[in-house]
Symmetry: C2
Subunit: 343 residues, 2 copies
DNA sequence: GTTAGCACTCTTTTAAGTCGAGTGCTAACT
DNA sequence: AGTTAGCACTCGACTTAAAAGAGTGCTAAC
C-alpha cells in the first residue's frame, strides 16, 4: 500500500504527536506541527482518507485521530527516521551494561534492569539458549563425609551447582571413578544429549559401580537440565504503572503475565528476525493486545543465543527506543562473547 | 491504656469488619455483628470515646469509623485472637516451601513467591546474614591457559563463583601455592575478617609469589564480599495492585521502593523481636506510611540469620496472616538448618 | 484540488439537587 | 449513672441538566 508523500507526512506527524502526548490529535494541532502550507480542511480530508485506509481511527466522533496498529506498523516500516544514537546515549548504555568478571546471568539481569530504567518500560532478557551448549567441565567438591557439591560449567559460561548425597561414605577411589565417568561420558557432550535413555545405558555399562555412582550421575543430569533451561530476567515491572491507562488489559494482568517467564521466553524465541517489533495484536498473547514489544537477539560467537526486549504501550517511542535496544543488545552480545572466550 | 471490656469488643469488631470490607463501619452495622444487647446509640457513645482516645477516626463527618494506627496496634497487641493454624493450611505451607537439594537462595526465593501468592501481599525475604559465616571451602577450577574459576563455599551454604584471570600462564605449582594460601589464611576465616588491611599483610607475607598470586587473592576477597552481602528476594509485586486504593502512597512509589533492596533489608534487619508487626507510620520509611509489615526471623542452628516478611495495607488480616508468616518462617529455618548440616 | 464556513456530534466540565448513611445531641427512662 | 429513642444535621455519593469545547464532515465557493 503506497501512500502519497503528503499522507505519509501527516501519518508520521499523527503518530509522533500521539506518542508524545497520548492525546488524540486534531487537524489544527497538526497544522502547527507540520511545515506544510495547507489549511486544516485539507488535512481533515487527508486524515479521513487515512482513516478509511485503516491507518488512523477516532476514539469517538468528535475527537482527533489516533494511529491504528496498522498505522504504527506503516510508520515503523516506512516513515520512522532511524537517527543514529547520540554518543552520550551510547556511553550511557555502555556504562549501564559493563560489569567486570560477571556471570552471564548477572550481565543479563543488569542489562534488563538498566534497559528498564532507561526506557521507562518493562524489560526482559533471556539467558543463552542451551541448544548448542556443551559440558565444559565438571568438578566434585567434597563437603561432608557423604555429601559433596557438584559444579558444572558449560561452554556458554553457565555455572550450576548442586549438593549431592552419596549412599555410602565417600572415598578417593569413588571420586576417581566419578571423574573417569565424567571424562569418558560427559565432557564435551551437548547438554541436550543427556536424556534418560543415554543415562540408562551409561549406568548399565558401569556394572558393579552403578549403585554408588547413581547419585552422582543423576545429579549431573539434573544440573544439565538446569543449565539448559533458559531463564527469563525481568526488570522494571513498576514501569508498567507509568503508562497504566495505555495498556488495554489491566496493569495487574500484564504484570502477572510478565511474572510467569514461560510465555515471555516463548515470545522472544518465536521471533526469527534480528530485531523485531511486534505491535499490539501482532503478539499472540491477548494480555499484550495493547502493548508493543521491541526485541533483539544477541549473538555469542556469531551465534544467535538469546534475546533482550522491552514491553511498552503501543504508543511507545519506536524511533528512539529501537536503536537503543539494538545497541544495548549488540553490546551485551560482545560482552558475553568476550567473557566466554577469555575462559 | 486500659479499655473497658465493652470498648474492647467494639474496637475489635470495628477492626475486623473494616479489614474484611474496607468500608467505614457504622453503629448499626456493628450492632448486628455484635452479640451485645445494647442500642446503636450506646455504641455510638462508645465509639465517640474510642475516637477521642485515638483508636478510631472518621474519614468524614457522616461516615462510619475506621481504626487508626493506634487502633490496629491495640488490636494486634491485646485483642486479636491468635487461633492456631489449620492443619490444611500448615500442609499447604509445607508443600509451598519444600524444595529438595536446593540452595538457600532458591529456597528463600521460592518462599517469598509462595508467601506472596498465599497472602495476596508483596513478600520479601533476606538471605542469611554473612555476619557469623566462615569460609568453608575454596576451589580453583582451571578453565583456560590463564583463567580459572574460583568457587567459594561458606558455612551458611552460600556458593559464589568468579572468573579469575592470571597475569601469567597457569601451572601446577601456582595452583598448589594458591591452595596453600587458602589453607593457611582463608579456610575457617569469618567472612567479615577479610578486609583490605588483612589482605595487605597477607600479600606482604608472600614475598616473591605476591605478584602472581594477587589476582587469586583479590578474587577470593571479592567473593567473600559478595557472599556476605545479604540479598533481598522479592515476590508478588503485582499484588500491590490488588489493594491499590488502600496504599496511601501511589502503587508506583511503593513498587519502586520494593525494587531497591537496600531499604528493605534495612527494614527487616532493624527489628530485633522474633516476630514483628509494624503498622503504618511505625515504619520509618514514608513510602510505607499506609502499609503494614509483618516479618519474622528464621534461625539456622538456633542463630538468628535472616527474615521473611509481607507488606500489605494497614487493613491487612493480622489475625490469620501472622501465624502463617510465623509458621512459614520457622519452616524455612528448619529447612535451611537441615540443608546446611547435611553438607 | 483547496479552502472557508458552519451545523452537528459527542465528551468533558460544571452546577444543582436529591438521597442516604451515619453522626451528635437532647431529653426521657430505668 | 448509664441507656435509649428521637431528631436535626452533615457530608459524601449519585443523578440530572445544562453549558462549554474540541473536532469533525459536508457544502459551496475559489
Amino acid at each position: 500500500m503506497e501512500l502519497s508523500q503528503r499522507k505519509e507526512k501527516i501519518l508520521a506527524a499523527v503518530v509522533e504527536h500521539y506518542i508524545k502526548t497520548g492525546e488524540p490529535v486534531g487537524s489544527k494541532t497538526l497544522l502547527s506541527a507540520l511545515d506544510i502550507t495547507v489549511s486544516s480542511a485539507t488535512i481533515r480530508n487527508e486524515m479521513a482518507e487515512l482513516a478509511a485506509l485503516g491507518y488512523l481511527e477516532q476514539p469517538h466522533t468528535s475527537a482527533g485521530r489516533i494511529p491504528t496498529n496498522e498505522g504504527y506498523r506503516y510508520y515503523v516500516d516506512n516513515l520512522m527516521g532511524v537517527r543514529p544514537l547520540d554518543d552520550s546515549v551510547k556511553r550511557q548504555i555502555e556504562a549501564g551494561v559493563s560489569l567486570k568478571n560477571a556471570s552471564p546471568e548477572a550481565i543479563l539481569a543488569k542489562a534488563s534492569e538498566f534497559l528498564a530504567d532507561m526506557t521507562d518500560c518493562a524489560a526482559v532478557s533471556t539467558t543463552p539458549s542451551g541448544e548448542n551448549a556443551t559440558i565444559k567441565r565438571i568438578e566434585f567438591v567434597p563437603v561432608g563425609t557423604r555429601t559433596g557439591m557438584i559444579v558444572l560449567l558449560t561452554s556458554t559460561g553457565v555455572i550450576k551447582s548442586k549438593v549431592c548425597r552419596s549412599d555410602v561414605d565417600l572415598n578417593s577411589s569413588m571420586i576417581e571413578k566419578f571423574y573417569n565417568i565424567v571424562k569418558s561420558s560427559f565432557l564435551g557432550l551437548p547438554l541436550d544429549d543427556i536424556d534418560t535413555a543415554t543415562l540408562q545405558t551409561l549406568v548399565a555399562s558401569m556394572g558393579a559401580d552403578a549403585l554408588t555412582m547413581i547419585p552422582f550421575v543423576s545429579a549431573v543430569s539434573e544440573l544439565a537440565q538446569e543449565a539448559m533451561r533458559t531463564m527469563v530476567m525481568l526488570g522494571g515491572q513498576s514501569n508498567i504503572l507509568r503508562y497504566r491507562e495505555d495498556y488495554g488489559t489491566t496493569a495487574y494482568e500484564l504484570m502477572d503475565f510478565l511474572r510467569r517467564g514461560e510465555p515471555i521466553s516463548q515470545l522472544l524465541a518465536n521471533s526469527k528476525a534480528d530485531l523485531d517489533v511486534k505491535i499490539g495484536g501482532e503478539n499472540k498473547f491477548k494480555q499484550l493486545e495493547n502493548s508493543s514489544v521491541i526485541m533483539a537477539h544477541y549473538n555469542i560467537d556469531g551465534d544467535n543465543r538469546g534475546s533482550i526486549g522491552i514491553i511498552g504501550p503501543t504508543r511507545i517511542d519506536y524511533a528512539s527506543l529501537i536503536p537503543s535496544v539494538r545497541y544495548l543488545t549488540d553490546l551485551v552480545g560482545e560482552l558475553l562473547t568476550q567473557t566466554l572466550n577469555e575462559d
